[in-house]
């Protein structure tokens, strides 16, 4: 029977020092950058959004794109999508909402839903329509794409903090 041996921790060695020591200044800048980054990422913005309204969108599907490729609505809008196709059977799946419809050529299929989740969601073809079917996507913007803008803000903070830490 093989004897199991636990790892011998004495082999966890450090070549020259035990830990990397950050200077106080670097620690402060890092902490500040993390704080600012978290604020940029999660703090809600005091913006007034437009009142919910009825939105009627006509989307034309053809190999391998939706026209228009991007649909923008406001949070709370009641959205009606009329899907038509010009060549073969296509579908429309709204990511995260979990809604889907399909349309035959020459016919229109309707999908109505309340845009109660904010963000940017992929619109994907739901019916295999050809070789590039897996890549046939559009976008649904429900309100401003805060994730993108916040991410850009955090990226800028990270780059600035990195640069600032370099300075004596």
């Amino acid at each position: 029977m093989t004897n199991f041996q636990f790892p011998n921790l004495k082999h966890l060695h450090f070549a020259r020092a035990q830990v990397c020591q950050l200077s106080n200044r670097r620690l402060q800048v890092t902490a500040l950058a993390v704080l600012v980054g978290v604020v940029v990422l999660v703090v809600p913005l005091p913006l007034t959004l437009a009142a919910p309204q009825e939105r009627h969108v006509r989307i034309e599907a053809s190999r391998f794109q939706f026209t228009p490729p991007v649909v923008s609505v406001n949070p709370g809008d009641r959205v009606t999508i009329d899907l038509t196709t010009t060549d073969v059977v296509h579908g429309l799946y709204v990511d995260d909402y979990g809604l889907n419809i399909t349309a035959d050529p020459g016919q229109t299929t309707r999908l109505t839903f309340v845009a109660d989740k904010a963000g940017t969601f992929a619109l994907r073809c739901f019916a295999p329509c050809g070789p590039l079917h897996p890549f046939m996507v559009g976008k649904l913007n429900v309100g401003p794409n805060w994730l993108l803008w916040r991410a850009v803000g955090v990226a800028s903070v990270a780059a600035f903090a990195g640069f600032w830490m370099l300075r004596k």
Partner: protein, 459 residues
């Protein structure tokens, strides 16, 4: 500042793990399984359904395997995949004249790989060619089948003509991809004590002995400072007469501190990878149907424009802008160092950003399509089988509510990680204040690139 990068935990000090690594059977069995999987993939690709989402070849190669490689195998295991890769297996077995234990000489001319090609320009070119036809390869089972078959045949022929794993080290584009990003992986094979190697005249790790083959990757373990050319095959662990080889766990990105091994071909491969992920994100995840059609319709004017843009962007625009950033940094810092040397050194700092960009790209691509795996497991050829009762499971995108956030975190993590290395590499040659000036334009380059990827993936 970089002392923590020297931290190591030696896995080969754990007796049962060392026995497992020295034994040939675990890797052989794993390789046999992957080979069987690849044979099934090729057969499915060539004779199965032409509909990609119903064919094992497309789903397993481009969804399951490619995702596993980018999200798990490379970031955590470096070249671990190369140790069980089936592509060179048959050629290597013929070359060695044995399946498991060494048995003396096998077949093959054993010629040396040409000196002019001892670099990774061929993988760079290969990855560019793959990019030109990616929209077809990724969606057409027949093409995927033929490409894999071609890879196996090419690897086999090269094994018969040249010594050791010449295909893996100098030709395979996927091997180049893995080698580049294996530098950030937290696992390595290194010698314990260089002095022992210096006094060992026989160098059994290089020429081999009855216990193990000479390094199939033509590396000398004593001079190994980066993971790029180590296939984690464990031959040196078996053949070392002095038990002087260690398999270590280490901090992520430890290789990036190594100045040895930085070269122009490696730098350019990095830009090919970075440029490719930008282009792929636009083509495959963007909402521009015309771009997809242009990438797919090989030979049409639209495809030639796509091909031109891809090659110009990856091999010209991206490295050109980076060169401009390095030049501006040198001017700001008043550095007299060689521009070429600074370009090569700084380009290695963007390896983490490149890897994380691929991770971010893969997250959306893979999670959205992964549910196809269950149906092709039951019906690998798309012939209406239902072997495990999962053939009719509907397509369902996974984790779609958190996918954008994961992508953002991956890209931001890559930016911060790369920024740290931009600074560290600049400080190798310059005092801190000058290094800051040298780094600024490069960090701006990385910031702009990150914002571009953010826009493509979650915009």
């Amino acid at each position: 500042m970089m002392r923590h990068l020297s931290m190591r935990y030696e896995l080969t000090q754990i007796p049962w793990l060392k026995r497992l690594l020295v034994s040939r059977w675990p890797l052989f069995l794993a390789r046999a399984v992957t080979l069987a999987g690849f044979v099934l993939t090729i057969v499915a690709g060539l004779i199965g359904s032409p509909v990609g989402s119903h064919n094992f070849a497309i789903i397993f190669v481009w969804i399951a395997w490619w995702t596993f490689l980018k999200l798990i195998a490379i970031p955590f295991g470096g070249r671990a995949w190369c140790s069980i890769c089936p592509i060179p297996a048959m050629g290597e077995w013929i070359q060695q004249g044995a399946l498991v234990e060494p048995r003396g000489r096998g077949l093959g001319l054993g010629r040396q790989w040409p000196k002019q090609l001892r670099n990774i320009w061929l993988p760079t070119l290969g990855f560019g060619v793959i990019g030109l036809f990616s929209a077809v390869t990724l969606t057409q089972p027949r093409v995927t089948g033929w490409v894999l078959l071609g890879f196996i045949l090419l690897a086999g022929v090269l094994s018969l003509v040249f010594e050791r794993r010449a295909f893996c080290r100098h030709v395979c584009p996927i091997g180049g991809f893995i080698g580049l990003y294996s530098r950030v992986a937290p696992v390595e094979v290194r010698v314990r004590d260089r002095a022992v190697c210096a006094s060992h005249a026989d160098k059994t790790c290089v020429i081999g002995n009855e216990h193990g083959y000479g390094c199939p990757w033509q590396a000398s373990p004593v001079s190994l400072t980066q993971n790029t050319n180590c296939g984690l095959c464990m031959e040196c662990l078996r053949s070392c007469s002095y038990d002087n080889i260690a398999v270590n766990v280490r901090p992520f990105g430890a290789d990036l501190a190594q100045r040895a091994g930085r070269s122009l071909d490696q730098a350019y491969f990095g830009f090919m990878m970075l440029g490719s992920v930008v282009i792929y994100s636009a083509v495959m995840l963007g909402a521009w149907g015309n771009l997809k059609t242009a990438a797919y319709n090989v030979g049409t004017p639209g495809w030639f424009i796509y091909a031109g843009v891809l090659l110009a962007f990856t091999l010209g625009v991206l490295p050109g802008l980076f060169l401009l950033a390095v030049w501006a940094g040198r001017a700001l810092a008043g550095s007299k160092a060689s521009l070429k040397k600074a370009f090569i050194a700084q380009s290695h700092a963007i390896i983490p950003l490149g890897l994380m960009a691929w991770v971010a790209f893969t997250i959306s691509f893979a999670f959205a399509k992964f549910s196809y795996v269950w149906s092709v497991l039951s019906d690998p050829f798309g012939w209406g089988w239902n072997l495990f009762g999962t053939a009719q499971l509907p397509w369902t995108p996974y984790l779609s509510s958190i996918t954008p956030l994961l992508q953002v975190l991956a890209l931001l993590g890559g930016l911060v990680w790369t920024s740290i290395w931009v600074r560290r590499i600049a400080q190798e040659e310059l005092p801190e204040k000058s290094a800051a000036r040298q780094s600024l334009p490069v960090m701006l380059f990385c910031l702009v690139l990150t914002i571009g990827m953010l826009w493509l993936l979650v915009g």
